[in-house]
Symmetry: C2
Subunit: 467 residues, 2 copies
């Protein structure tokens, strides 16, 4: 009841609730699949038993590339659902992220340490933690049904949990999980195309992708000279001054990341997930660009309008002395870069029909960069498809794939039903896994429907289980 009031309070206040969790650590073997070593590490997981009563399910969040707390605080839907289902809620961190570092400070120093970072190892970490829960006081009356939840990469993991370990998890809610964003499964340009469409269609009165498409050549022209670089650094109050062409490339990459992040986080209320953002941040940014036609040919004026537009991303609080595009430090970018260099090789390209600089997918260049950065390179782009089955999901069961159609990642997602129990639900007005967030008065009807679909699916799986 206390929690109910807290939730109601959060709801009325239009903010995400801060749920409290007990922090635990499991001893997990570093290498599940071979026997060249036998040592273990401490894997962190969070547990909340507020709503739980004997024999009821476990809602298990399969953590992704970051501190597990970040996901626990941005996935209020699970707590709300736990109340309805009297469920135990567990958020399990992903190895090599947050504080679950198998080799402590050495974890990221060398492939001989970092090499155990893989999705297959992570899945068995989750299987082991579920086994620990089943053998604990919670499972003392017999095995509990476990439902996996995850968003984004975490959603891929929750789907793969059910595909690979159906004896461990009864079903999976895989939100915004681009499990098909791999070689030969999805065209490489779709991600940037969706991002473009979001910016093109969000403002009611103009196509915001036009000024963005014109930004890149403007930056290139202005920064041809050192004076231009100095002007840009000073005008944008950049924390890291631009002094050479590589800095220009880096700035453009950062701005692209910001544009993509804003599309992913285009939630109908203010959030602080990947960055501090206002409600509908795409509209907020674009509102500063609506007069772009009057200065489209004036590079410096165009750039200046973006400086103002991006204030909400780089300096939302208004307190920063300089502008930086670095995202939340809770996300483990280096770890994800390594995963992208080994099995999570997701082809991405920009083509004529999108608003970015044209860039083909160049696996050769990616491989060379990976070798330079980490001493590894992608072995075989089919690896992840062979491992998890690619588009052949006919023999899986009890998975819901949800996707917001405003989410760039939806292009690599499962958008239509595969079988009677491997189903898809789309949220036309949704950004990146909006459905996993707690209820909010600003929620569009489609996300409310999606959450109901999740609850109904889980109810059906549980009925099968208890019969």
């Amino acid at each position: 009841m206390k929690y109910y009031l807290v939730i109601l309070f959060c709801y009325m206040q239009n903010v995400q609730c801060n749920y409290t969790f007990e922090t635990k650590y499991a001893d997990i073997v570093i290498d599940h699949f071979s026997y060249t070593r036998n040592d273990t590490f401490k894997l962190k997981y969070l547990i909340n038993e507020t709503f739980w009563s004997d024999g009821n399910p476990v809602f298990f969040y399969t953590g992704n590339e970051g501190d597990i707390e970040l996901f626990a605080q941005n996935t209020g839907f699970i707590m709300e659902l736990a109340r309805k289902f009297s469920a135990l809620v567990v958020y399990c961190e992903h190895r090599y992220y947050g504080s679950s570092l198998p080799f402590g400070n050495l974890s990221y120093t060398n492939p001989k340490y970092l090499g155990y970072l893989s999705s297959e190892q992570a899945l068995l970490d989750f299987v082991d933690v579920i086994d620990i829960l089943q053998k604990s006081k919670y499972g003392s009356d017999g095995p509990l049904p476990v439902i996996a939840f995850g968003g984004s990469y975490g959603g891929m993991l929750s789907a793969w949990m059910r595909i690979k370990y159906p004896a461990s998890v009864l079903g999976a809610i895989a939100a915004s999980a681009p499990i098909w964003q791999f070689t030969n499964l999805t065209p490489c340009g779709i991600f940037n195309l969706i991002t473009t469409l979001v910016y093109a269609s969000t403002p009611k009165t103009f196509d915001c992708s036009v000024p963005i498409k014109n930004l890149w050549p403007a930056i290139r022209r202005v920064t041809k000279t050192s004076e231009g670089m100095a002007w840009l650094s000073s005008t944008w109050k950049l924390c890291d001054n631009i002094t050479k062409p590589a800095d220009v490339d880096k700035l453009i990459d950062d701005v692209i990341d910001a544009i993509v992040n804003v599309a992913m986080m285009n939630y109908p209320y203010p959030t602080n997930f990947v960055a501090e953002l206002p409600a509908y941040p795409v509209s907020a940014i674009c509102s500063n660009l609506k007069d772009y036609k009057t200065y489209l040919k004036d590079d410096k004026k165009l750039i200046t309008s973006f400086v103002k537009a991006f204030d909400i991303y780089t300096n939302y609080s208004g307190n920063a002395n300089c502008n930086s595009f670095s995202g939340t430090p809770s996300l483990g970018d280096t770890g994800w870069d390594f995963q992208s260099c080994t099995e999570m090789v997701m082809p991405m390209c920009s083509e004529e029909n999108d608003m970015f600089e044209t860039a083909p997918w160049d696996i050769q260049a990616v491989s060379e960069q990976c070798l330079k950065d980490f001493g590894v390179k992608p072995r075989n782009p089919s690896e992840v498809i062979l491992q998890y089955g690619g588009k052949n999901l006919k023999y899986a069961s009890n998975i819901v794939f949800s996707n917001g159609l405003l989410d760039p990642w939806s292009g690599g997602g499962v958008l239509s039903n595969i079988t009677r129990t491997v189903t898809a639900i789309v949220i036309p007005e949704g950004a990146h896994h909006l459905d996993l967030r707690g209820s909010n008065p600003a929620d569009p009807p489609s996300v409310i429907r999606a959450r109901k679909f999740h609850a109904d699916s889980i109810r059906g799986w549980l009925q099968d289980f208890y019969n």
Copy 2:
């Protein structure tokens, strides 16, 4: 047609046919699941395209613990079925056996080399070879349906292939696959109990388990003195003389292995799979023991009767100068011992109701021996259950589990249907994966039925595939 005649010839001659295969090697990564190393090794596979025509299925044998040729020459059923289905036949060796040694001569010297011997790694080896086949000339008209076959550990692997990689194999025929011979899934004594029942019930006129149960104390009593040890060594013409108590233990272990092997290979015609054996070798051995009641209390007479009885196992050809209980060198016993020390931990015990010396299952003692032998010990007896789902096979599909009820391993097998497509067929008169052997006039009706069941199951899976 030529092949048809060859098969007919084999059939009439009452022998297994010698099929010929092309030998190939695939470059396979040593560690599929981590990225601490990136090197590859040569995995051997055999291929026979005699019956194959475009678009027809691949019959893929998932090799077990030995030279792949041994299995290819003792699994004639697959070739006979290939003729009916116009199938391509592939026998794939299991890493660390035969000539598929990832580190050549070093492979068995140290856990740092031997540690990559695991079923999970082996399954992905098979997935990779199937991928190579699909991308070769055979798959040029689109993906081919692949049916996995295997017997014993190979049968476990073929079932697990379908469970874990349903996008790679359409279905699996898992013959005599004791996938439940693991901790808490099957009582540890059932294996020895079935062996006992086979010896008790096979001879029509007497219970042959009685003299066997009396053999062990007789050997113990006789070998209490050095004279007794010398007498036993000389009477049994042992290649390795018995001079100390540990030698006695070793002899008893060897005789138990022989008794078990003979039960497993209790085929209705002469075979040379694990050893050179006559038809119905259990009866052949027991026929020498039928008068046991007249000398049951005379230790030396009892032992002497076993010496004669075991002649068919230790010296079937009659040409050996001394008797040895070593099995076929084509089986990789050391590799299997390592696997039994890591994930394939199969609890075995002897109890009052069987014909062996009472011996509890002692995981502690096993662990210590493993540490001594290999520098590793079983991590967690649940590991293999968590990996493959244990008894929870409800969500798998397209697997036939076949078991001969005269096979000691049937105790750990799947003996009844799990779902509509995960089915079981028992062969009351069958020994260890008799159904995978080529047709023989001496085949009991139940094995003919089982083979028909396999063919019908495959036909159904293929119909689904082609629709």
